[in-house]
Structure formats: C-alpha cells, structure tokens
C-alpha cells in the first residue's frame, strides 16, 4: 500500500495547526531565519539548485524566474497566485486554509531574495475561509515580527497585502492578476514586456503559485539535495495531486513527482468508486490536458512523462471518470467553463468557446450530427495559438481529446437521440 510523502501537507488536519504558536514550535520560520543569514544571490542559487519548478501549471524553474528581476529597479513586487480555479484542483485552497504560515514564510523568503518590501497575496474571491485564515495569519506574523518593520530585527521591512478576487478564473493568468490588483478588468496583457521587468504598477514583479512558495521554507531548512532526492531528475520535489470524481477516497495526496497514476488512483484514492471500470482520467485538470484512457494508468506523474504520453501535468488535478460517466457531458461542462471564463478580449477564444459549447450541448440533447465532430475539432484548432493568453488554448484539449478517444460515445448520442447514460 502506497504511503504519502507529507512535506507541504505535514501540518494538515492537526488541531491548531493553522495558528502561529504551533507553526513556530514545529520548526516554522526557521527557513526565514536561515535566509536572513544568507545573501540574496545565495538564496536564489539554492532555489535554482533545488530544481523547484512552478506548481501553477507551467512548471517554469522558480529560481530562474527570481533571477530575471533587474537588481537596480525599485520598487519590485512579489505576487502570490492564490486564485485557484482550475476544474478539479483544490490544493492551494487547502494549503491556505490549513497551513497559512508556511505560505507566509515562503513569501517572505522569496521577497527577501528578490529584494522587495511589498508582497501581494491574491486570493480567489469565493475562498472566504482561506482568505480569512490568511488574514488572521498575516496579522499574527506582524505581531511576532516576521512581517512589518525590521523583520526579525533586521533593517529589512516587508508588508503582505491580501487582495481578494471577485469571481473570475482568468485572474489566475499572471498578467490578468496584475490588472486585477491594479483595479481593472482581469484581462491578460500582451507580452513582452514580461512581468519580470514590467509587472505590477509597471515595476519588476515575480508571480508564483501558492504551492511553489510553500516549498521554499523546506528547501531553506533541509537543503537542495534533500529536495532533489524526491521526485525525478527534471521534476524534483513533492507534489500535491488533487484526486476527484469517481474514486472511493477523493482528496489531496502528496507524493514525490513521478509516482505512477495507477498508485494515485488505485491505491491512495482507493480505486474507482463502486468497483466500476475506469473510463478516463485527466492527468492535470481540464486545461490543455487531453484526457487519458485506462491504457495510460502506468504513466509516471511528472512533467516529462505525462507530456511524453501525450498530455500535460498542469496543476496535477486527477479527475476520474467511471465506465458509466458521459464524456460528452464532461466535455460540455469543461467547455461551458471556458466559455463562461473567457474574458472576451480575443475573438477566437470568446466566439470559439461559445460555438464549441453550442455544438456539444446539441450532442448532449441528441440533436448532434456526425459532421459536427469534424467541425468541433476544426473550431477548437482555430482557437489554438490565436489569443493573448492560454485560456483559449485550454479549451481545445477537452474537445479534441474526447472526440478522438470517445467518438463512439458521440455517435451513440446521435443514434440514441440523447444521452445514453443514466447519470
């Protein structure tokens, strides 16, 4: 029976684990103390050596991102992306709700390394509990001198400002997030210039995901070698996989990168619910990640292996569909999501997602035509690469991969004049 490797989730579920006393007494803020004894360059070098890569979906090397900031332009900013909204993903919410100080410490270390005195934490608006928990924890950190004027008795000051979203998935896109903090519609910016030089308020900005920053204190305390000892060579460290859908025990499971999907689904999550057969699963949420059939269960869950198998690791959200789940309906729900969340700036995304969801709804209502399958794939491929940000691209995979893998199911909807599934 597989065991979890609990690093980021080690304090989850313990009563009082969210309060500062428990955090400090279990070794918390040691990473920040250690960082304060180091030079900024050494911290960035350490994070680079650890191989830490961004957990928000793209997997960009974190230390390299930090090193892009010009040293002589001030002020610079850190923005932590807590706008989790990817269907099937629920790790960042739990990281904020159940161990807020781990995140604050990670933000503080990063802020020190990049030489900023002002960090923003963008929390999704609907995460009322996570935002309250973070507010309380930030207040505690100010009281104890981990934030505010003269952090830990040094000459360095740091403020963390919590900014709530208000219901827009697109604000998880980094430049849309900057727009949102600046008090505008969350519409992505054209790049270049990149946020590293022209970010928040036009100044150099690092934007990191919650889970990424939560790794940082552990790297400071236990070292880069320890971090590299988990996971694979190119995808080192622990990773929280969010497993949901038709499994016995849905939940967040923390394991080293490279753990096979079979271990996650069959062992940790207890297999498909009710002893049913597996029909499909998403390796990394719905965005840009073609769904896998049961033949891909032995794929190792790291960036390289999942990509080699024909999909993307994304945020590590594993949604499991049993034999009696309707994949047309799944594709429709995903596409409705992108249609709803498209910011409307770029025509291919705004109109493409609309027409895709119309076509899918027609199938689900039993009024689809076989030629629509080609039309949908054509429409989806015409969104790809034709918009400012990746949201339009995200909408492609749920449609094209289900049409490819489950064409028979689409046709069954036509023959049956409606959805052939009970659920």
């Amino acid at each position: 029976m597989a065991e979890q490797t609990r690093v980021l989730s080690a304090r989850w579920g313990t009563p009082g684990g969210a309060r500062i006393d428990d955090y400090v007494s279990s070794g918390g803020y040691e990473g920040l103390r250690k960082a304060r004894q180091m030079s900024r360059e050494d911290i960035i070098e350490l994070v680079k050596t650890s191989g830490l890569r961004g957990r928000g979906g793209a997997g960009f090397p974190t230390g390299t991102k930090w090193s892009f900031l010009p040293a002589d332009v001030r002020p610079s900013y850190l923005v932590c992306n807590g706008d989790e909204g990817e269907p099937g993903t629920f790790k960042d919410r739990q990281l904020m709700e159940e161990d807020p100080h781990q995140l604050i410490e990670g933000m503080a270390i990063c802020s020190f390394a990049i030489g900023t005195t002002e960090a923003y934490l963008y929390v999704r608006g609907e995460f009322a509990l996570a935002a309250r928990t973070m507010e309380r924890a930030i207040g505690e950190a100010y009281e104890r001198g981990f934030l505010g004027r003269n952090v830990l008795g040094s000459d360095w000051n740091l403020d963390i400002i919590l900014h709530r979203g208000a219901g827009a998935y697109i604000c998880g896109e980094e430049t849309a997030m900057l727009e949102s903090i600046e008090g505008r519609r969350g519409q992505p910016r054209l790049r270049p210039p990149f946020p590293a030089t022209h970010g928040l308020y036009g100044n150099p900005t690092v934007i990191n995901n919650v889970e990424t920053l939560a790794c940082v204190p552990h790297i400071l305390v236990r070292g880069a070698e320890w971090f590299r000892g988990l996971g694979t060579e190119k995808s080192p460290g622990p990773k929280i996989f969010s497993i949901s859908g038709d499994v016995e025990r849905a939940g967040n499971y923390e394991v080293p990168f490279g753990t096979p999907a079979r271990v996650l689904i069959e062992e940790l999550a207890g297999g498909v619910r009710g002893g049913k057969q597996l029909k499909a699963f998403t390796p990394g949420g719905s965005s840009s990640t073609p769904v896998f059939g049961p033949d891909k269960l032995d794929t190792n869950m790291d960036w390289e292996s999942v990509q080699a198998a024909g999909s993307l690791l994304g945020t590590g959200a594993v949604m499991v569909f049993a034999e009696d789940a309707c994949m047309v309906r799944a594709a429709l729900r995903f596409t409705r999501f992108y249609e709803h969340e498209s910011c409307g700036k770029c025509t291919p995304c705004r109109e493409g997602t609309y027409w895709l969801s119309q076509a899918l709804a027609r199938f689900e209502a039993g009024e689809g035509h076989e030629e629509d399958l080609d039309v949908m794939v054509d429409a989806a491929n015409n969104i790809l690469g034709r918009s400012f940000c990746a949201l339009g691209d995200f909408a492609n995979a749920p449609v094209t991969s289900t049409v490819k893998l489950f064409a028979d199911e689409y046709k069954a909807h036509i023959r049956n004049k409606g959805c052939p599934f009970e659920r």
Binding site: G88, A128, R149, N157, L162, G183, Q358, A365
Partner: protein
C-alpha cells in the same frame, strides 16, 4: 426579483442547454447604465473606504474592495455607488462599471439575503449536482439565476469551487457545504428561510449578506505598515 436578464433569454442558448435551463450569468441587468439605483452611500462607507484606500500604492487598486463595501451597504452595486466610487478614485463611471460588470461576485441588482451557489463542474456533476440543483429549484420555486419570491434566497450555478473532494458542493454566502444530498438541500433551504443557516462542513456559519460583503471588502485584514515608504 424573479425576472431573468435579456442575455439569459437568448433563444439559441436555451434551446441547446441540456437541462433546458438558461445559464445565470448575471443576477441583474449587465450594463452599468441600465442597472437599478439606490440612495447615496453613507458616511460610514466613506470612513471605511478611507482605510481600504490606504492599503495600496494607487487609489484604483482599492476599487474591488470598495465595490464589495458598496454591495455590503446596498445589497448590490448600484449606479449611484459606481458614480460615487468613481469620483473617490478619480476614475470615470465607465471605468468603474467596466470592473463591476466583469467579476461575477459583484451583483448589479438586489439579490437574496442568502446566495446559494451550486458547482456544476464534472466532479460535482458525477456526484449528482444536477439533482441537487433541481431539488433546490423545486424547494425555492425559482429557476437557477433567480431569487425566491420572499426575497430571502438567490440560487445560482457557478464554475469549479475547487473543493472537489467534497462533491457535490454548494456555497451559502461563500461558505462550503460538502457532499450535499437532495434531502440535505431541502433541509438547507428550510433553515435558510428560518434565518438559521446550519454549520457548514468547514469554517464559520455563513453571515448574512451585509456582514459577508464587509468581510470580503477586507475590513478585518491587517493594515500594512508601509514602513519602507515612511523612511
């Protein structure tokens, strides 16, 4: 308020929605110009707004917080509130309306005291979210996107709430109710009608509309020291 918006009645959209239900994009008319109005914002609003403005390096960054605060006071973001906030932040009313109409948590018409949000994404639909939604509609006597006739409860469907291990998930004023059954949904409605929301599956008991939105405005959050600028 049980009228649906012009967008919701687009025929092509309704015809192919599998459940025959229009999607609730907006709880009020979408345009900042056509929305309902309300009395001017109070002195208390302006006092609280000052605190929120001080958090940011630019005034405009406080806009979303101020919209939450206006919504706490008036129940929704009125045209008048948009104009007042615009003049506070030295923006045009159109710039404020652009933001107020972009984010779904800003409502531009009166909503119920309790906002019931049902997740519709795959992990929840696999767990029976559709049946929960239908039961809620029956209990409330409204369709998704509408407010019950007593004005107490507004029902909406939302995208993934990112708590998929608790599917099917419903939020009441942004507090989580996980693994909700159809009967649980009926019970939830009865308790909300009585003004006594049951404890959620995590976090605090939902607060009424005004308190919820004052919290969302960030009034409880710590104020930054801004030590660097002071030096």
């Amino acid at each position: 308020m049980s009228a649906s918006t012009p967008e919701m009645q687009r025929v092509d959209e309704r015809a192919y929605e599998p459940t025959g239900r229009p999607r609730p994009e907006h709880i009020a008319p979408p345009s900042g110009e056509r929305g309902p109005d309300a009395p001017p914002l109070s002195e208390e609003f302006h006092r609280d707004a000052k605190r929120l403005l001080d958090r940011y390096p630019t005034k405009r960054s406080a806009l979303m917080s101020l919209l939450y605060l206006a919504q706490a006071e008036q129940g929704f973001v009125s045209r008048g509130a948009m104009r007042e906030i615009a003049s506070m932040l030295e923006l045009t009313a159109a710039q404020v309306a652009a933001v107020a109409t972009f984010y779904t948590m800003f409502k531009r018409g009166p909503a119920g005291r309790w906002l019931v949000s049902v997740c519709t994404q795959p992990p929840c639909y696999l767990a029976g979210a559709q049946r929960v939604m239908e039961r809620l509609e029956r209990e409330l006597g409204v369709r998704c996107g509408e407010t019950s006739s007593d004005g107490a409860i507004t029902l909406e469907s939302v995208e993934c709430l990112c708590i998929c291990d608790g599917a099917p998930v419903v939020q009441v004023n942004y507090e989580f109710y996980e693994r909700l059954t159809e009967d649980g949904a009926a019970e939830l409605v009865a308790k909300l009608r009585a003004g006594e929301p049951p404890p959620p599956t995590r976090g605090d008991v939902p607060q009424p509309w005004r308190e919820t939105h004052r919290r969302l405005a960030g009034l409880d959050g710590p104020a930054p020291s801004r030590a660097s600028q002071a030096q």
